[in-house]
Symmetry: D2
Subunit: 339 residues, 4 copies
Amino acid sequence: MIIVMKKGASASEIQDITRKVGDLGFKDHVISGETKTVIGCVGSGDKARIKALVTAAGVESVFPVSKPYKLAARSSKQEDTVVDVNGVQIGGGACVVFAGPCSVETEDQINESARIVKNCGAHFLRGGAYKPRTSPYSFQGLEEEGLSLLAAAREKTGLPIITELLSPRHLPLVDQYADIIQIGARNMQNFSLLKECGKSNKPIFLKRGLSSTIEELLMSAEYIMSEGNYNVILCERGIRTFETAYRNTLDLNAVPALKQLTHLPVVVDPSHGTGRIDLVIPMAKAAIAAGADGIMCEMHPNPEVAFSDGPQSLNPDHFKQFMAEIQPFVKTSGKVFPS
Amino acid sequence: MIIVMKKGASASEIQDITRKVGDLGFKDHVISGETKTVIGCVGSGDKARIKALVTAAGVESVFPVSKPYKLAARSSKQEDTVVDVNGVQIGGGACVVFAGPCSVETEDQINESARIVKNCGAHFLRGGAYKPRTSPYSFQGLEEEGLSLLAAAREKTGLPIITELLSPRHLPLVDQYADIIQIGARNMQNFSLLKECGKSNKPIFLKRGLSSTIEELLMSAEYIMSEGNYNVILCERGIRTFETAYRNTLDLNAVPALKQLTHLPVVVDPSHGTGRIDLVIPMAKAAIAAGADGIMCEMHPNPEVAFSDGPQSLNPDHFKQFMAEIQPFVKTSGKVFPS
Amino acid sequence: MIIVMKKGASASEIQDITRKVGDLGFKDHVISGETKTVIGCVGSGDKARIKALVTAAGVESVFPVSKPYKLAARSSKQEDTVVDVNGVQIGGGACVVFAGPCSVETEDQINESARIVKNCGAHFLRGGAYKPRTSPYSFQGLEEEGLSLLAAAREKTGLPIITELLSPRHLPLVDQYADIIQIGARNMQNFSLLKECGKSNKPIFLKRGLSSTIEELLMSAEYIMSEGNYNVILCERGIRTFETAYRNTLDLNAVPALKQLTHLPVVVDPSHGTGRIDLVIPMAKAAIAAGADGIMCEMHPNPEVAFSDGPQSLNPDHFKQFMAEIQPFVKTSGKVFPS
Amino acid sequence: MIIVMKKGASASEIQDITRKVGDLGFKDHVISGETKTVIGCVGSGDKARIKALVTAAGVESVFPVSKPYKLAARSSKQEDTVVDVNGVQIGGGACVVFAGPCSVETEDQINESARIVKNCGAHFLRGGAYKPRTSPYSFQGLEEEGLSLLAAAREKTGLPIITELLSPRHLPLVDQYADIIQIGARNMQNFSLLKECGKSNKPIFLKRGLSSTIEELLMSAEYIMSEGNYNVILCERGIRTFETAYRNTLDLNAVPALKQLTHLPVVVDPSHGTGRIDLVIPMAKAAIAAGADGIMCEMHPNPEVAFSDGPQSLNPDHFKQFMAEIQPFVKTSGKVFPS
């Protein structure tokens, strides 16, 4: 931790701080600059306590030197984490596609979706049984029936399934049906839910919050990992900015930036990330070129009648084109598209 | 709903849309402009279904004319909602102060806090027993012990208490102890939790998410109200912007904007809203001048040793000054500071 | 400057940096932490050169300890700057109102505007002769004719005038007519223009850019001051955020934050800051409560037919109410409203 | 234009609006919905005048249906604009690289830069002679001497040069030396400067402002084009968001979104866009995959001693790697890398 004293801080104020730093179990290093004094604090005590010294007399600011995450950090594990789901590998040299409708709506709809996903060569079937909708009056999902329809579609196609968890109450059910448990953007800092996911033995697909920094995303991964579940997949899915031409601003910078900071796989969701079907293919290509380990994409047999997210779902023809167009970029990126 | 067709959309594309609009139970009104055709859709069907038509051939955009919230809307209830908590009224002509530490740490700490809050003339004691911390390694709260210490402090001072709920699992306990249940910014769109709060008979204090629009805040209030709990208090507590001079950017525009859109009380939290103790007093004054029904403020007997949020907590002397300085602005705003 | 070395940086990398720090005329202070090494650099050399060391082997990040502005800093001049314009003082204990239409449109319109501004008790007449419009097809201002109409209105009412400068080419004319020269938000980092303003002897009214930090605002003030013109008035006028309920998000946090950092007067413009006439009065009150030295407000004799900014201009009745309602807040803030 | 009346607007308020719409030369179409009345306005009059009706009694909001730009719109010119500079084509099927140092510093530095740029196979030499620096105390550029050094480097290598214009005063000189004139992000809405560029016969390279929407970028292009200069190249170079892990957030969504809206070439600058050398290569690849017509990249013979932007400049080895790594993505994107 670094403490910057105010210009003109008195000697006794500086002494007071070094004493407090010592009391908290840190060793101080005082640097007297041209106009300001800086105090470096070395030690492994509770850094939040050092931070609170910002309210002490003479202190201007306090900031950390170390990253606050440990298990998720690349520095603690050099090699990429590879999450194996029924033999399909996420991370490492592969690039995988998760596709399907926003919501499970009917048996026909999810079976038809699964068939298309499979035939086009994608690797995971997505579909929501519990839906986090902005309005209480919108379709909220089929709940357990949805989970069971997903499982039946897996039966038919062999595709592993990924579905969202909204509440600790649903964990036992979701855990039983899903191959991968998704935590949505709006729950990225639902720390109670993260802790419970840490106790599951299913991989967790953690989406970045709409206004979460990548450090906060890594801290949320750390919550899950600190409970013992190391199979965490990170997902960039668009952030909030002033731009209104797209529903969200897909932030591809996060891909190479995360790759440096962490060993966890990084997936990109251009459907939610842009909210515009016409941007899904170019942004998927770009995500792969930036180094993504996978793409999540919304596809619906008939988007015009979808119960949710119709405006950003590809139709089957468009999805086929999507799979065909991204493949050369996977290859150029030196990755493998599992067949 | 308004559907804007692309420049050059064909007659058959337009016909196709009007047919689909009819199928969804809406009546269409076609306006042929200089360059574009606009289709107004009148009816009370499912608007999300109209929205999905954006993926149909020839359609450029689709947007709503009506607000998506009903129970929370000023247009459905002209007079201000007044929430009565043990005789203290929130909303209407009063301005109330919620104060106390971020976390309940020890019996002495919360009792001393309560004493100061009471003596300085504030109206509610705040304190967290379950803490949503960015890091899994930070202090997570005393849990039930914290709730029971809060209750004891209420016993001693007569101050009603407000405390945060993080998980449906804790609802029975929190509901039993708290006078007001707080939903934090990070859980504003935890819809499962909101639904459960809708079944409680305790008032809900709902904080705006860090990147939530005020329409989303009202939709989250609608979730609670649609389950039958009409006692919702809204709280502006700072949004995420590019500015780094403050931890968050307190958005006071939300106060008069919300007052127009809703009948619910609006409280402002300048402690979290700015993250800087030196901005708390001026921004509290400004919030009151903008029309806030109350102020939430972090105060700790000794911020330098606080387990959490020390950097933004007022010390007792500073809090006394806070109460003295905001009072004249309450009066000038034509409101009453309950004594 | 503080240089943070990467975890695991080698001894020779650290030595290489300390050598380079020395070569640039700084003295190094090496602190060896638990996991990282930090190097404090003390000296008055070119800090940008230290910053470039971030590209050297083993370096993780480099950041400054001192503020980059000098003349604008409160630390270099404790007492508030008071700008005197024909006897009306801006800064210090006064709170002044700048009002008038967005654009000068006709002789009648500006004279009528000036009459209303004067009668309602405001202090400066604003009006644009050169207009920065988003579209090249929108009204671009009356140019010199507009300046001369403003001067005639000043003649009639005694109100000093403030008008915007867009280009160095117009400086001689604008300088001749205006009492205060305004630099708009979109030109806040038009450094060539700022330098020219630094050579004028008229006060400069500098508006914060839509996505400029307050440090950047102060750096732009520094550009003007470093050329010799110390009469700079800062203006907060709304920033860009994700919120779409208002045209911009007026950032009142900037008022007390700037007051700490600088001795220059701080004015707030709630008309541009919110883009909504119904928010102008509450946000003006809030700005005054937060410590603003003045309010700029758009008023038009008939907003419905305004050539520009009609949607955010108060009409005469509304402006009269504005002046009546803000006055008590000026008094409660301990300031004087020059009569 | 669409006018949405408030819920409960009276018949006379609606009549008043339709009369005013008629007075402004538009034809009205009234749609009476379940709760609100919507008025469509058809005609080619001044839309800003319709917009000002938002202040009239009973009106809730007013919004446009058409895009405000014309010459820049894809709908007015289907085929891509190809800008030819000394035989090198920008736009169409090519992907070009603009590279060089932030500032021209010395004869040796710019000659060495040009040599590397040429040898590595890039197409344009960039370098600033007039520098827009945040601080008045930073290096401001060599001015005419810089232009003349650039011209000498062009002489030696045959590389066409691109350099930034800051002020109308410098236009004659810059126009004489440069092959392409750059307008920087901070001047994107310096409308006086844009108009002057519209009178030059050199192509204009227009960078998106840090908080400018893509519609505003196109309106700024429209300013230049409306004065007769149709050779405009757009450049995405990062926007301001809450994320602090990168200096700016490069917004690649803008690439495919712009390609739909306009026929002008779109270039991406990952150096300024991220501010981090380690993100330049992955984000350049991603930009190409997203459909960019070119990449602008900062390269310096020795970044550690650069006068400006050292932290984001590639060194010669890194630049060589950059050119080698992006080439396969150009090919996979179906574009040609001019040799």
